[in-house]
Symmetry: C2
Subunit: 345 residues, 2 copies
């Protein structure tokens, strides 16, 4: 069997779209420019034709606003600030401003987020831990607005450019560090299982135990959500066990700080009674007592790389093949890890 | 002497501006809309006439972009994130997106930040710890783009609407708490003296000492800059003195965390050897060990109030009198403060 090649279709012109929709070319133009003075039904018909015909606006550069859109799944914690700083630095150098949105249910009545983006015509869109559905992608593509996903939560698909970090290697390095200190009962608190970065870290954790010939005890792995409270609550559960772990890979820095609080509440010392490793290396990791051993994820650099990539995609004369870049993580050893106390002492 | 009233001048029309500039009305319109296809000299002449005549655009609502501009003096620390969240919440409810900029030297070559704002026509501008010079104000006024300053660094002037917090009362409450615990040698680390909020906190500190009949020892007051490093460095200096203070008002939370680090390095315990009070109540204040006693400043609420005020100003049919709102601060007592150790023990 010979696989059939997709027909080499020439993208439709604006005039052809107008004819098919039974409207004037200026009306199609209005829809493309996000103008409000088009009847909703007409607008929907034109949008659908633009999508079906894979219409791509030419010479979009000329009509772009000096903006980059930055969209967060959740605007929370110092994590988000590092990302904002990275995008802001690249945008500032390029003479662009950053439009910030939170994707969680923040839609204008009657107009979706993607409509707003299409109307304001930014140079590109950086999505953090979120994705786009098919119609949103088509809408942005029809306006030649490129997008890049930073640290994709799910699997973004092979045709979506994305920037991430080597989460698996990070989880491996964190856990290996604890193994090398002599720990054999090593617990973990994961992030949400729907997030790929969390799955990768946990797989790295398991790989480190397995390659060291240590058993993986599922009861020592708690399912968190990357927030401080989960670290505290699940930390209490783990540390109250009679056979409590002597070390915990906390999944991220916020959960590590929650675990600190749980240890304090139970009268356990870090690292004498329990070693703790985080993930991210937020500024606060250096400031807490004891300073946190963690896996550094270069968040600002990742965000800057995502912003640079999206600007490149906008300038490219031709379609680029999809890009997936993972920046390296590195273990930063501080004072929250030490060898386990001698049993029975 | 009868003071002369300023003449009741009618604001010039667009046609009058055009005549005075020797250009067509559409050209003035292009300048107002931030279009690039106007010769720089013409543009400058028209801008100057708009400014001199105090031109204010009518019916600006219709042509506004669904944006709020948020401008930071410095995009740093969890402090900024709280502010972003506050503005984002109000903007989201109003169907607007937030454009983020850092004022520190981030200007597009050839076009200033104010030009960009005038061109994108947001519903309003919230400035955080920064101000506008006269020409920037005139530029925004000519486009009927209102602005509000949150936590003004300098004195914003009587005609500038602003939102702040009761910094003086906060400094007073922080220091009074230490006095009531029995401390008599109470040090302080200030923020930058050019920031009004820092001056107000320090004045509150002095007022608390004076009203308690305690001497104000200038050598116990160190000049910081609100960053972690200053707290660490100046904390080392204060705590190394033979007559070291038994308690320190750290000016803000980041400096308090720096002071924690200095104390750890010197082998001093918080609060047994030195009590510490911060200011801000960032999320991290609850998470550090020991949890930090601090003055809560409702940052997200202040930012939300600033965003709401700027939207109200945009909707107002007539000029509003300037507004200065200060939201209340409150002392949050956690575990970093205790009575001084008994002398000689």
């Amino acid at each position: 069997m010979t696989p059939r090649k997709p027909a080499e279709t020439q993208s439709a012109t604006l005039a052809e779209i107008a004819r098919a929709a039974g409207v004037s070319a200026p009306t199609v133009s209005k829809v493309l420019n996000g103008r409000a003075d088009v009847a909703p039904a007409t607008r929907a018909r034109v949008e659908e034709l633009l999508r079906v015909h894979g219409y791509r606006r030419r010479r979009a550069e000329a009509s772009r606003s000096p903006l980059i859109d930055l969209v967060f799944h959740e605007l929370e914690s110092a994590w988000a600030l590092e990302v904002i700083r990275g995008v802001e630095a690249v945008a500032g150098d390029a003479g662009l401003s950053v439009v910030l949105s939170e994707s969680a249910g923040r839609l204008t009545p009657g107009r979706t987020w993607a409509d707003q983006v299409a109307a304001r015509r930014p140079h590109g869109v950086v999505l953090v831990l979120s994705g786009l559905d098919e119609s949103q992608r088509a809408l942005l593509a029809s306006r030649s607005i490129p997008f890049v996903v930073m640290d994709p939560a799910g699997d973004p698909g092979p045709d979506v450019p994305s920037i991430g970090a080597t989460n698996w290697q990070g989880g491996l390095a964190a856990t290996r560090h604890l193994v090398e200190l002599g720990h054999t009962r090593i617990g973990a608190i994961s992030g949400p299982s729907r997030m790929m970065c969390s799955r990768a870290r946990m797989d790295g954790y398991r790989a480190a135990l397995e390659t060291a010939g240590l058993p993986v005890d599922p009861s020592l792995v708690a399912a968190g959500d990357f927030h401080h409270d989960a670290g505290y609550r699940l930390g209490l559960e783990l540390l109250r066990r009679p056979d409590r772990p002597t070390a915990v890979f906390a999944g991220n820095d916020l959960q590590a700080l929650g675990l600190y609080e749980a240890a304090r509440e139970l009268g356990l010392r870090v690292p004498e009674d329990v070693s703790v490793v985080g993930f991210d290396d937020l500024p606060v990791a250096r400031w807490v007592g004891p300073p946190l051993t963690t896996v550094r994820q270069p968040l600002a650099e990742m965000a800057a790389a995502a912003a640079r990539l999206v600007l490149e995609l906008g300038q490219a004369r031709q379609e680029r093949t999809a890009t997936r870049v993972e920046l390296a993580t590195s273990l930063v050893v501080r004072s929250s890890t030490a060898g386990p106390a001698v049993a029975g002492s």
